[in-house]
């Protein structure tokens, strides 16, 4: 969807996005020529349509960014080994630290796999007496599981 400032015949630019609230996104556009501002307020269907594409609306980073990618793992409560699932079962995992390099690799994992990958790798580390997950632990896990 694109917005045009009719008096200026100029494409409007996205200024800010408010995260979904009660199923609605608020997206502010302004005209770079005259400064006129307008807001697009989506209904729940429109919000869901954008979220279903697996994209985020707005700048790459920043607190105003919004969309599907900001959501927690959509299956978290269903997947064994995730925090949500463990909370349901009343278990409390022993904390394991992650180095920046290992976290960076984990960040590339899709949202829906990340909680399970984190928990599984931490379990692998604990079973070997490690209290920290670094890239070597990740490589060892990969080798161990024959990947």
């Amino acid at each position: 969807m694109k917005f045009l400032c009719v008096p200026c015949d100029s494409p409007m630019k996205l200024q800010a996005v408010t995260p979904p609230e009660r199923g609605s996104l608020s997206i502010v556009y302004s005209c770079p020529e005259c400064g006129y501002e307008m807001a697009m307020l989506t209904n729940a269907y429109e919000t869901q349509a954008v979220q279903s594409l697996g994209v985020r609306i707005g700048p790459e980073s920043g607190s105003h960014a919004s969309g599907a990618s900001d959501a927690a793992c959509p299956f978290a409560a269903m997947i064994p080994g995730t925090d949500d699932a463990q909370r349901r079962q009343g278990a409390e995992p022993v904390p394991v630290r992650w180095t920046a390099g290992a976290e960076a690799r984990l960040a590339k994992v899709p949202e829906f796999v990340r909680p399970m990958a984190r928990t599984g790798v931490e379990r692998f580390a604990r079973e070997r007496g490690a209290v920290e997950v670094d890239e070597q632990v990740l490589d060892a896990a990969r080798d161990f599981f024959g990947m």
Partner: protein
């Protein structure tokens, strides 16, 4: 006044750019895959998933590098059958490593993530209206899987498709013309009719139809060492006897139901080598025809997994 096409970009929402980036990541991720083969039918319950796994095993036994993507997100079965139900997903340097079967077939299945006691659900702002967005969400998920996992260098990536003739066409659209289709039917008029619809629908697109396999063409009785009929087949499509099926695509073979192979699937113990039984030999035959058919293609169409958006 400017029209939509006169305006470059979308004013900063980056939705189109992100979709294009996703598609580029998919194309990059599949660059090392020689053949993309979707195993579909249109009809449910014809044994697409078991045939996919057994064919993958037969091809793997020939030394080929094989992966299976279980695209049936709502009814995933490959995780259990391939023995990767409790697989661990480990982050690699760029993408996520794939679990493998004992005989080295890489498998992605939602069944590795979600227990069989749970149904696949997505968070939604449009409660009670999933018919309006669910298919889009599932294809976005498929794109994420294709773009995020290490498919690496493969001879074949096999997609185990969900049932539904219209779904088969949607997957053809999404996966693009590089993907060839293998359809599965059984010797029943109802199944043949549904598969004929899939053939008709796919024939309108650019994807190659490699042929079909008639699954469950009788069952193998070990006591008698003979194949006995499962369905009363009208002669008009008795492929086991070389008669026409009515499906206007090549028949790559017929595979009898073998209770022993089914038991292996239920226990998650895929065979490292095709069994020396009529079923095993039939799978070998289909695997050879599949390879012949794939190799007979000149060059696959240019990589256009998804149409560009503007």
């Amino acid at each position: 006044m400017k029209r939509y096409q006169d305006i470059v970009g979308d004013g900063g929402s980056r939705v189109l750019e992100q979709v294009a980036e996703q598609r580029t990541r998919i194309t990059d991720g599949l660059a090392g895959v020689r053949h993309l083969v979707a195993v579909g039918s249109g009809k449910g319950g014809v044994g697409k998933s078991t045939l996919t796994l057994h064919l993958a095993g037969a091809l793997r036994a020939r030394g080929l590098r094989i992966a299976i993507l279980d695209a049936d997100f709502n009814g995933p079965s490959q995780a259990r059958m391939a023995g990767v139900e409790r697989a661990l997903f480990v982050p690699g340097t760029d993408r996520v490593a794939l679990p493998r079967t004992r005989n080295g077939i890489a498998v992605f299945s939602m069944g590795s993530l979600i227990p069989e006691s749970e149904a696949l659900e997505f968070q939604s702002t449009a409660h009670g209206e999933s018919h309006t967005w669910r298919a889009t969400r599932e294809f976005a998920l498929l794109g994420e899987i294709l773009g995020s996992f290490e498919w690496g260098a493969l001879d074949l990536l096999m997609f185990d498709l969900p049932p539904g003739a219209e779904r088969t066409v949607q997957y053809a659209d999404f996966l693009g013309p590089r993907t060839s289709f293998l359809l599965v039917t059984i010797p029943s008029e109802v199944a043949r009719g549904v598969v004929a619809r899939s053939v008709a629908a796919l024939s309108n697109g650019p994807n190659r139809l490699l042929g079909y396999v008639e699954n469950m063409s009788g069952y193998y009785c070990r006591d008698c060492d003979a194949i006995k009929p499962l369905f009363v087949s009208p002669e008009s499509f008795d492929t086991a006897r070389g008669l026409p099926s009515g499906l206007e695509i090549p028949c790559l073979g017929t595979v009898p139901f073998d209770p022993e192979l089914a038991r292996h699937c239920d226990r998650g113990l895929p065979l490292a080598e095709p069994a020396d039984t009529p079923g095993g030999r039939a799978l070998e035959h289909v695997a050879q025809h599949l390879l012949d058919s794939l190799e007979s293609t000149t060059e696959p169409p240019d990589e256009v997994p998804l149409r560009p958006l503007r």
